[in-house]
């Protein structure tokens, strides 16, 4: 089992000691702690200690009506907030059997892909920053700023959006958003070359990230790893393709994969996914249908008695909302399957044997958001 060698088993010669990384550490992306058992500089065991930003969303859900819980899922994963917002809407819609208008679905796809790009920027370049290169991170922040402005224009907030409603979205997109998105995509296509020149081919980056933290397919299956971390291990799994929801089947896009399963592969998958997201947005903008953006839904929703597990793909992997309804206006139980939770746990398996500095690289490449783990 895990943690075979503990601090208690250490002999004098081994020089095994424990090191606390976090909870306040710049490269832990939030408030979380690693308890690392080290032999010299080699990691013997790695135990993440989570729960610092637990706010009890699942308990809150049991004391709110369905509409009141709408702003909470975006606060779980603040980097891909819109995707969580739509995911919750979609789960309740499928439980009630509400049909969403096509225009609303297209708007959802456009905005959630924009959100995915902004999240992948952080995911890919936080790794680069963790490895010591600060400049690329500022470059991506420049692009991300445009994105946040665009989304602020339609959703009203910059990070924790609550734009989705049951049966559609809050308001229609305007011309400024439409033109701005087109301009942004054109600009980003040019910028991607800069990123690849600056980071992807950088020899220092490759030496730090190659063959570090390899997740094999078997490990991934055993731990339930999903998202870019899984696709970096050569498994072609994406909820958008395997289990199509919304209007994703109407778009042509690839699932980028890499066979290596190391930090570099996960970075490359993220960069390739940004390009795929751009393709989806362009196709969606080309074929944006006219029509209503809100289905007719009752003011207060009370799903029929029953339960359902509805999955969708966030920027970090497969998220699932398990909703149990007792027929009233208040959910009986809502459970969120957070991808970061499973992705983080795999670190206990892959970290031993690496250097301490590589733990930072592995953690950066797995790209978790801490509030989503703790919920």
């Amino acid at each position: 089992m895990l943690n075979k060698i503990t601090i208690d088993d250490a002999t004098l010669e081994q020089r095994v000691y424990q090191l606390n990384l976090g909870p306040q550490h710049p490269s832990t992306h939030g408030v979380m702690q690693f308890i690392l058992t080290l032999d010299g500089e080699l990691v013997v065991a790695c135990e993440p200690n989570i729960g610092y930003s637990h706010r009890g969303h699942e308990k809150i859900a049991e004391n709110r009506i369905y509409e009141q819980f709408l702003p909470y899922p975006p606060r779980m994963d603040y980097l891909s907030a819109l995707i969580f917002n739509y995911g919750y809407c979609q789960a309740v819609e499928r439980l009630c059997g509400i049909e969403v208008p096509r225009r609303a679905e297209y708007i959802r796809v456009i905005t959630s892909e924009l959100n995915r790009i902004s999240s992948h920027f952080i995911g890919a370049f936080d790794l680069v920053m963790a490895l010591g290169a600060f400049t690329p991170f500022m470059y991506c922040w420049d692009d991300r700023e445009v994105l946040l402005d665009l989304l602020e224009g339609v959703a009203g907030s910059r990070l924790t959006y609550c734009y989705g409603r049951f049966g559609g979205v809050r308001n229609d997109i305007d011309k400024a958003f439409y033109d701005g998105t087109r301009r942004f995509i054109d600009r980003l296509r040019g910028r991607m070359k800069d990123y690849h020149d600056l980071v992807t081919g950088n020899i220092i980056f490759i030496k730090r990230a190659k063959d570090i933290g390899i997740i094999t397919k078997e490990t991934a299956l055993e731990f339930g790893v999903t998202g870019p971390s899984l696709r970096g291990s050569g498994v072609k799994y994406d909820v958008r393709k395997q289990e199509p929801y919304s209007v994703y089947p109407e778009f042509k896009f690839e699932i980028p994969t890499r066979e290596e399963g190391d930090c570099l592969a996960r970075y490359q998958v993220r960069m390739a996914e940004i390009e795929q997201s751009m393709n989806i947005i362009e196709q969606a903008l080309d074929h944006l249908p006219p029509g209503p953006i809100q289905a007719k839904v009752p003011r207060f929703i009370s799903p029929p008695e029953g339960e359902g597990y509805f999955a969708f793909e966030s920027a970090r992997g497969a998220v699932g909302f398990y909703i149990v309804s007792d027929g009233s206006r208040v959910p009986y139980r809502i459970k969120v399957r957070s991808p970061s939770f499973s992705n983080l746990y795999v670190m206990t398996k892959i970290c031993p044997g690496h250097f301490l500095a590589d733990v930072i690289a592995i953690f950066g490449s797995i790209d978790v958001t801490v509030p989503e783990i703790d919920r």
Binding site: M1, L2, G56, K59, N63, F223, Y237, G306, Y309
Partner: protein
């Protein structure tokens, strides 16, 4: 909307599950309304044989959770495939309040944390779990937050009356 490949896999899985847990009820459910293709209903035990079948069929463990139904708990295991012809199977096991179900961590390592989470929020103690302690809540608290009677006061009861 299921493809022929999905139908075939579903049929095969249903047969193996019925063999593994003859005491349980394996039924096909409506995918559109529940998000799952197969549902296994069990009483008391049987999580290990189901997990064994799932592991052999290359399913990954999506999540483990519990629901507090006041008189009893229901453990919910959700499995899904990585590969084309995706199938999602849900295993619902009804257990008494004071039961100590078997851990499936020898089969799926990822279950270690998921079961710790269930213990943390519901107080369900899993047998043969390598490291059963709290995970998200602080170690020194004595409550289990997702139990239905946690945090209930006269005031919240009034709110419930208004809402429901």
């Amino acid at each position: 909307m299921s493809t022929p490949g999905q139908k075939k896999l579903q049929e095969k899985l249903k047969n193996s599950l019925t063999q593994a847990v003859p005491q349980g009820k394996v039924e096909e459910v409506d995918y559109a309304g529940t998000g799952c293709h197969l549902e296994v209903l069990l009483d008391g035990e049987g999580m290990r044989p189901v997990a064994q079948v799932m592991k052999e069929k290359q399913f990954y463990l999506e999540t483990i959770t519990a629901v507090d139904y006041i008189d009893f708990f229901e453990l919910v295991y959700v499995y899904s495939t990585y590969y084309q012809d995706m199938i999602r199977a849900k295993c619902r096991i009804r257990i008494p309040k004071e039961a100590t179900p078997l851990s499936i961590s020898p089969i799926y390592s990822g279950a270690i944390w998921l079961e710790r989470e269930v213990y943390d929020f519901f107080g369900i103690r899993f047998q043969e779990h390598p490291d059963l302690k709290r995970i998200i809540n602080p170690d020194n608290v004595d409550y289990f937050p997702l139990l239905k009677n946690f945090g209930k006061t006269k005031f919240t009861a009034e709110i419930d009356d208004i809402l429901c």
